[in-house]
Amino acid sequence: MEKILQVKDLHVSFSTYGGEVKAVRGVSFDLHEGETLAIVGESGCGKSVTSQTIMKLIPNPPGKITGGEILFKGKDLIKLKEPEMRKVRGANISMIFQDPMTALNPTLTIGDQIMEGIKQHEHLSNDQAKQVALEMLNLVGIPNPEIRLKQYPHQFSGGMRQRIVIAMALVCRPDVLIADEPTTALDVTIQAQILELFRDIQKKTGVSIILITHDLGVVAQVADRIAVMYAGRIVEIGSRREIFYSPQHPYTKGLLKSVPRLDMEKAELIPIPGTPPDLFLPPVGCAFAARCPYAMEVCDKVYPFKSQLTNQHSVDCWLQDERAQKLVSKY
């Protein structure tokens, strides 16, 4: 599969009154054509910042990309000037935000908001744009699109609005769709419908999806591959099977243990003790060491190298070092 988007050693920081917050500290991943990559992690781990950086929507100041590359079809987006970047946004890479209740402009009709994207990028006539908008509303499963086009956001329910937001993002047939917590603001039954919609759309259009979430249930349903982020870094990445059935990083293991399950007897939820580190002064070594039950002396001092376990599965952890493995086998 072609790599459509490559993020290489991305660094993003924010300057605040308290100092520089290093929100993203060297994130690298590839996105292949037609796949869904989920980025999971707790609040503040840098997953939303990563996604908004790809769109270059980080407000500058205070945000700043301090290093790395974002290659879209081989072209580095970081180097693009704002007017060129505007041609990429919405047309090649689209984004869906968390809360559909606020993501739509309350004073414009749905039709207007869906069509302005196409008009911006493809210079279609009003009639042609309307046709595309109708197709999109059909695609995302909105009944009576002809009437709905003339209505305002407040006339739709939350789930319907998220469908409209998705239609809006897909209207120019982008190659990459970034969904930043698309189901967090919805109730559970609607969540399932929206996830189903994502799968359906991917089948029909072949769009690659980056799904940002902290909900492992969502990930289990739709992701092909999963990247686990902690304190501004991807600590483990692998296929859905590998992450769910043979997690290697203690943080990933902790995350999975803290998810409620219905299919196991006596399932006790085990929280991860402690809190994430302060990103004003991130630790030199592994950021998870302070909370890690397996932490060794080296973990505090040196950041672990990447261990490639299979061709998809890699993890940043000292436990993968052969000396550590020997120690483990000794006990």
Partner: protein, 310 residues
């Protein structure tokens, strides 16, 4: 929709009636009458005059007579300028006052919004601070001070504009500027803060993510939402401009309604006081109606008189 307008009309009439009643009795409770001046008139003459204008009758009878007359559209004769009716005076003064008020409002709204938007877009930059400093000055300097300053600088020191009177567009510049600075400053500050709030909204992020240009984002997505609070204050701003015109008309010797209003109070010219008050109130009530209509037009969530349809 129609029942809304009928209800609204009824409430407007009731408001106006309350104002009329309040003004009528307040006016008569103030000591003095149109006929007591320093120059003492003969008591018999005064009695005759009072009888002529029905001022000798009990207050309730006078009130009843006035209402009866008013319903027929007659605001009565002026007591002090006995050859004129109040209708005549308003008919002559209103077009001038309206012209002044209308242009002032126009200047205040347009420049206020532009200033506010620019300040918001350059938030915490030099232009922002400059615009807001101008706004603070505009709010704190009363319009009569502004008027004298403008006259001194732009009519006397540098004779670019005429000092007073109301004849050509050139004559209008100074009074309009003097009257517009205050409301403009208020609108600018309000537009700025409301714009800053709107610019952090998610739908602005959505618009950016669509690849829209900054101009489109500001004018199509942000401004309309940001204007809602601005429209809300327009009603009361219109009021302040209307009342501001009294002073400005006096300073610039503009033959508008303000002159009649102020003179009539000093003279206890009862029909003129009533006439001008009723007229100003009617305009204000009408402005408030316009504001509500504009609200419904700007924000589709507000449908006047309609129950929320699912």
């Amino acid at each position: 929709m129609n029942t809304y307008y009928i209800k609204r009309l009824v409430s407007m009439i009731i408001t106006l009636w309350l104002i009329i009643t309040g003004t009528f009795f307040l006016m008569h409770s103030v000591p003095g009458s149109p006929f007591n001046e320093e120059r003492r008139t003969n008591e018999a003459v005064q009695k005759n005059l009072e009888a002529y204008y029905n001022l000798d009758k009990p207050l309730m009878v006078q009130y009843g007579n006035y209402l009866k007359q008013l319903v027929q559209g007659d605001l009565g004769p002026s007591i002090k300028k006995s050859s004129q009716t109040v209708n005549d005076m308003l008919g002559r003064g209103f077009p001038v006052s309206f012209e002044l008020g209308f242009y002032t409002l126009l200047v205040a709204i347009i420049s206020g919004i532009i200033l506010g938007v620019i300040a918001a877009l350059r938030h915490n930059g030099f232009i922002d601070y400059l615009a807001m400093s101008i706004a603070v000055i505009g709010i704190s300097v009363p319009n009569f001070v502004m008027a004298t300053l403008l006259i001194q600088q732009l009519a006397v020191n540098f004779p670019i504009f005429p000092v007073a009177t109301w004849q050509s567009p050139k004559h209008m510049v100074l009074p309009i500027l003097a009257l517009a600075t205050g409301p403009m400053a208020i609108i600018a500050r309000l537009t700025r803060s409301s714009m800053l709030e709107v610019l952090t909204q998610d739908y602005i992020k959505t618009a950016k993510a669509k690849g829209l240009s900054p101009v489109k984002i500001v004018f199509k997505h942000a401004l309309r939402n940001a204007l809602l609070p601005v429209v809300t204050v327009l009603g009361s701003l219109a009021a302040s401009i209307l009342t501001g015109t009294f002073v400005i008309e006096k300073i610039f010797a503009i033959p508008g309604m303000g002159k009649y209003f102020v003179d009539s109070i000093n003279n206890r010219d009862y029909p003129v006081i009533m006439g001008t008050t009723i007229f100003y109130s009617a305009i204000l009530i009408f402005m408030l109606l316009l504001v509500d209509l504009a609200y419904g037009f700007l924000d589709p969530r507000i449908k006047l008189g309609k129950k929320e349809a699912k």
